[in-house]
Subunit: 321 residues, 2 copies
């Protein structure tokens, strides 16, 4: 089967303490698709301007990604973002955002994008997320990302969008902001109670909450349990741009690649591990540079390392008291 | 054998979004000792004033802690701290600090405290940490904690103190500040290179770096590897005061309880798990309330849960590329 992703395709100008790049290939849909392409066929839906280059399309095509639903808008300019990161990469300042063709974007999905059984709604206006989600009513697994902007200005629509998906992937600060609950577990439990029999997407409501925690890793909350993984430790992180979408690509890609398997916590944990590893490669170099030349063997090798780094034995001990 | 801890014994007045308490039993040495008392005998070294109560001593005695090196200073006042936490408990403001008898404190160790094979130097002036460490030259395992204040005003002495211990336990922000390295792994590696043949404590230098990461858990860096554990997930956290020292008590206590075992990464990982679990109980209620009535069975049960929450299987997968 295949995965459809709807989201931004961008040029990013990024400065970190370790260097800078101008007008790199970027955008949520691109980072997601490159990561997910290791697991399944990916259809990318999003707009670009006349300034978008053939070499950038070729980066995606060379990973087997279907770019036929990337809409080139005549006379338009590709979404542009410019940002600079602080010394520990945990803070970043947006210096410029030019929506270009992303303003007024109306997703158009071809029959092949509509036929996917897995859908990822990257961070776009929640009304658009709901519109696309409604076009794939039979999708087996649907996930969405969002951001503080939509929580601030379009919360009701975002909540309705969340009620129509299976999986919510947000930064942990966004989960707190969205629910007003300061505690991560309580925030996730709140969202798990949404959409039971609601109006959107069949009314099953989300069953998987993923909290992205940046350099600290990520946590998974389901009705059955809790799981957390640290980020893969790197001595040198160069550029975190796109890490969250690369993480989502690894997670959703892994789930898409296991259509016969029940969506158990055990499957989701393996998906979290692959997400963590994909994100770790993304941040090692600027933009898509590292993931472009990543191999399946490198992923498998780092999964084994991550597993070794998170194990401990439960040797029995007689405690005093 | 036994553990000696040198550090503060305090009264804490704490306000969190979930309530407040006045003049609770607190202090680094107290939180450490209560946690470590589940694993081994603990000797507490520190000063109190004439205002320090018998019931507070009894809290420690009832956990089998040796309080005979708690020095009651005639006419003195016990160290007092007052603070208030923000809504998500990740920020706190110190409203009042009264050093009292802690000002001018000169640790005096009795023969039984000097005979311990494990030593924890809680957060005190680094010159004092070095002085105490030098009094236990044969100790099998010595760890220290510190804080941003000492990094700012006594960095050279702190570095010398670190060169004389086996294990450094700091918040990750403090590790970055101490080394000037923004990356946790790089910061830890830097500290692991200190004190090889240096002047203090036999010149073996630290071999174990533990980064406390608050609600995100903790990471362990040794020359052999990396390990990280999430915090035990709680839907309700009431008061984080003392969590770091309780964590240290679980960690050092577990190591102290295994004198015959080589200090391997495998042992340290089990110690990290016990530290994580002890800290999780500490934050469930104010001050020492929860740990005072904690049982060994509760610890064992939560260790098993934590182990289950951090496991994933490494099912092989054929990747595309």
């Amino acid at each position: 089967m295949s995965i459809t992703v709807v989201g931004s395709i961008a040029y990013d100008t990024v400065k970190t303490p370790f260097g800078e790049r101008e007008r790199m290939l970027g955008g949520a849909a691109v980072h997601f698709a490159l990561a997910a392409s290791f697991f399944d066929e990916v259809h990318v839906v999003g707009p670009v301007g006349e300034d978008f280059g053939e070499p950038q399309l070729e980066v995606m095509r060379s990973r087997g990604i279907d770019v036929s639903d990337i809409e080139r808008v005549a006379g338009g300019k590709t979404f542009f973002w410019q940002g600079e990161y602080g010394w520990d990469l945990n803070s970043r300042e947006t210096l410029d955002t030019q929506l270009g063709v992303f303003e007024g974007f109306q997703p158009k999905l071809s029959p092949s994008s509509l036929a996917s059984d897995v859908l990822f709604l990257a961070n776009i206006q929640p009304d658009l997320q709901r519109d696309v989600r409604a076009q794939l009513p039979q999708a087996r697994f649907v996930a969405l990302d969002s951001m503080d902007l939509w929580i601030n200005i379009a919360r009701d629509s975002l909540v309705a969008a969340i009620e129509g998906v299976d999986c919510v992937i947000l930064n942990d600060a966004e989960l707190r902001q969205l629910t007003g609950k300061p505690n991560l577990v309580a925030a996730a439990r709140e969202i798990l109670s949404w959409g039971q029999g609601g109006s959107d997407g069949g009314g099953r409501g989300p069953s998987v909450i993923v909290a992205k925690q940046g350099e600290y890793g990520a946590a998974l909350v389901t009705r059955d349990g809790f799981f957390a993984l640290p980020a893969y430790p790197l001595e040198s992180v160069i550029d975190p741009t796109g890490a969250g979408d690369t993480f989502a690509g690894g997670l959703i890609g892994y789930i898409a690649a296991h259509p016969e398997e029940e969506l158990s916590d055990e499957l989701l944990r393996r998906a979290m591990a692959h997400a963590t590893v994909l994100a770790s490669f993304n941040v090692e170099e600027f933009g898509t540079e590292r993931v472009e030349r990543l191999t399946g063997n490198e992923i498998v090798s780092r999964i084994k390392e991550l597993q070794a780094m998170t194990q401990f034995s439960g040797a029995p001990l007689s405690l005093r008291g």
